[in-house]
């Protein structure tokens, strides 16, 4: 096989590219259904809340077809990709089925009113249940074929791109980059110096540990490991230390941030209060792996919306992950020029690491994340010119804060002159209509001649006149979010099921303490930068 065909084939051989293809298929399907005057909303479903078995079985009956569609849709794609990546398909299909049913059970458990009272969402429950199962009894070997934490989280991140406006990425990118760079460099130096100066570990071992803590966890350790020609055993220790700390930090950061965010997410009355956006940014600077960080912010998102997820993604994916190639390149030079020159007896493969390593180690799924954001932002920025919002004169007004049933009569309603050309009432259809997006001034103008019931109908019309909110968000973005939740819960269950602490705790205390010193510096530094230095930005997110 020549080099070009190898490169062409690579786009079907790595999880990064497959996450992009799957993400794009989902996004274009959602857009396609919308253009065909339909929506995937009825199929892309997650369980609702319940407090007794009657409600549970009713919800299951209502959504069962959707679960089957999600299972088959994701399953076909994952199976095809796993086949092309050279994995055992029989094991994968069986394992994926077990994992999907497990995820469904976790979703239902999280929807139980008791879990709501305990403030436990699907992400933490998936992780906890997985950890308990795998640490009581090791999962069968065939199940490991389907435990693809990275693949599922990358798919989720590409889908996440469709819900994150490009303007936000452009606006927040530089701030996230500055904050992440300060934290990354400080944490790397702390771990490296602790490892080499205090604990007298080999510099390349220190570099592997430092990159695991400072850049992107286990993937960072691997990416840098080859560039500096680290020992295999050192890589294994790096993986174990980073994994243990990442999982510990999921619980520490989830408990801390849940306590620190005020109940309504906004009213900061105590000195320790932080906003949902700040919490996401803090987790982004102080977690060591994407999957682990998403477990925390997805848990927070259950209560406070997408702000923690957006802030985390900006900080971790854009601020830290995409620079891994540069770390690998710089450290490969440092390794050859400084560390290896002191060790003349060093045996083994050598050779230069070119600048191309920056691209080669670049996590390509991030391109899918950007592409998804660009596609959805372009669509959102060009609403149909002749769009007319419609609301029934009798119906239900629903918003995050309130739900109200109304029954209005517009037969004698006097339309204010300022909106005369835009507002209309269709008595035969029992509808009120508004051409184009309705501003708040226009809504207030319509309120002047309205009674209480008419005001509710006009509020409903205000929502429906906003094409992005009423059409794009609810018919296109909403199913993408549901499928993203599935990808995330599959991932969190995988983390739990594949983590056996007994198997991981095989390293000496020196690397553990070197990394721990990094944690002691990293967590407060992330907190100070997020809640003091860049507070205005993250709080306003």
């Amino acid at each position: 096989m020549n080099n070009n065909s190898k490169k062409a084939f690579k786009i079907f051989r790595t999880e990064d590219y497959w996450a992009i293809w799957l993400g794009m298929v989902v996004i274009f399907l959602c857009i396609g259904f919308y253009w065909a005057d339909s929506s995937l909303t009825a199929w892309a479903v997650t369980p609702g809340t319940w407090s007794n078995f009657g409600q549970l079985s009713a919800d299951l009956g209502k959504h069962i077809a959707g679960y089957i569609v999600v299972y088959i849709g994701f399953g076909l794609f994952f199976t095809l990709s796993m086949k092309l990546m050279g994995r055992n398909i029989r094991e994968f299909v069986v394992g994926y089925t077990v994992l999907f049913i497990g995820s469904l059970a976790v979703f239902y458990l999280a929807g139980w009113s008791v879990m709501k009272k305990l403030d436990l969402g699907a992400p933490l429950l998936a992780l906890l249940i997985g950890l308990v199962i795998s640490n009581i009894k090791a999962p069968p070997q065939w199940l490991y074929t389907s435990l693809r934490t990275e693949y599922y989280i990358k798919t989720g991140i590409v889908l996440l791109g469709a819900t994150l406006p490009l303007t936000l990425i452009v606006e927040a990118g530089p701030i996230a980059f500055i904050q992440a760079t300060i934290v990354s460099v400080t944490t790397w130096l702390t771990i490296f110096l602790a490892a080499t100066k205090i604990f007298k570990l080999e510099p390349r071992f220190g570099a592997v540990l430092g990159t695991g803590g400072a850049v992107c966890g286990v993937s960072g350790s691997i990416a840098v490991g080859g560039a500096v020609r680290a020992e295999k055993d050192h890589i294994a220790v790096g993986i174990a230390v980073v994994s243990i700390w990442a999982i510990v930090m999921i619980f520490v950061l989830a408990i801390l941030t849940k306590w620190m965010i005020p109940a309504d997410g906004k009213t900061m009355t105590e000195w320790y209060h932080i906003s949902p956006g700040e919490s996401g940014a803090w987790v982004g600077t102080s977690e060591y792996a994407d999957a682990a960080g998403f477990a925390v912010v997805a848990e927070l998102a259950n209560e406070y919306g997408d702000a923690p997820i957006h802030a985390f993604t900006l900080m971790k994916v854009i601020g830290r992950d995409i620079w891994i190639g540069i770390w690998a390149f710089v450290l490969s030079i440092v390794s050859v020029v400084y560390w290896e020159s002191k060790n003349k007896n060093l045996d083994g493969p050598q050779g230069r690491v070119g600048l191309s390593v920056v691209w080669e180690r670049f996590p390509k799924f991030v391109l899918g994340f950007f592409a998804a954001s660009i596609i959805m932002s372009l669509i959102a920025s060009s609403p149909p010119r002749d769009y007319v919002g419609r609301a029934p004169v009798a119906g239900t007004f629903k918003s995050k804060a309130q739900e109200h049933e109304y029954n209005a009569d517009f037969s004698d309603y006097k339309v204010p002159s300022s909106v005369a050309g835009k507002f209309s009432y269709d008595a035969s259809e029992k509808q009120i209509r508004f051409s184009g997006k309705m501003s708040l001034d226009e809504l207030n103008a319509l309120f002047v001649n309205a009674d209480e019931e008419q005001k509710w109908a006009l509020k409903n019309l205000h929502f429906h006149a906003d094409w992005f909110q009423s059409e794009l968000s609810s018919l296109v973005i909403s199913p993408i979010k549901k499928l993203r939740e599935w990808a995330f819960v599959l991932c969190f269950l995988c983390i739990g099921l594949s983590t056996r602490f007994r198997d991981l705790a095989t390293f000496g205390l020196k690397p553990f303490w070197a990394f721990t010193i990094g944690v002691i510096v990293n967590v407060p530094l992330g907190y100070i930068l997020t809640t003091r230095v860049f507070v205005d930005f993250w709080r306003g997110l």
Binding site: R13, K154, S219, K232, K364, F365
Partner: protein
């Protein structure tokens, strides 16, 4: 060989029998890797484990103990 020497393409680790880069074998050689990462991602890329020197290396590197991998038929 120094940092600035480019190894002859046919003596690269990529063609050495001691070079373990298959994602499935790579994941088996590094237990725990799949908890939060993967052997199938771009951050692993063309790296593999030199089973002779027990180091993580890049496929474009080379060494004196290079032994050509037999092509499977």
């Amino acid at each position: 060989m120094t940092f600035f020497d480019k190894p002859h393409s046919s003596y690269k680790c990529a063609f050495c029998c001691f070079f373990l880069d298959d994602p499935v074998d790579f994941e088996k050689a590094l237990p725990g890797l799949c908890i939060l990462s993967s052997g199938q991602g771009d951050t692993k890329g063309d790296q593999g484990i030199c089973t002779l020197h027990q180091r993580l290396v890049i496929s474009t590197m080379s060494c004196k103990k290079f032994t050509r991998r037999r092509l499977s038929t």
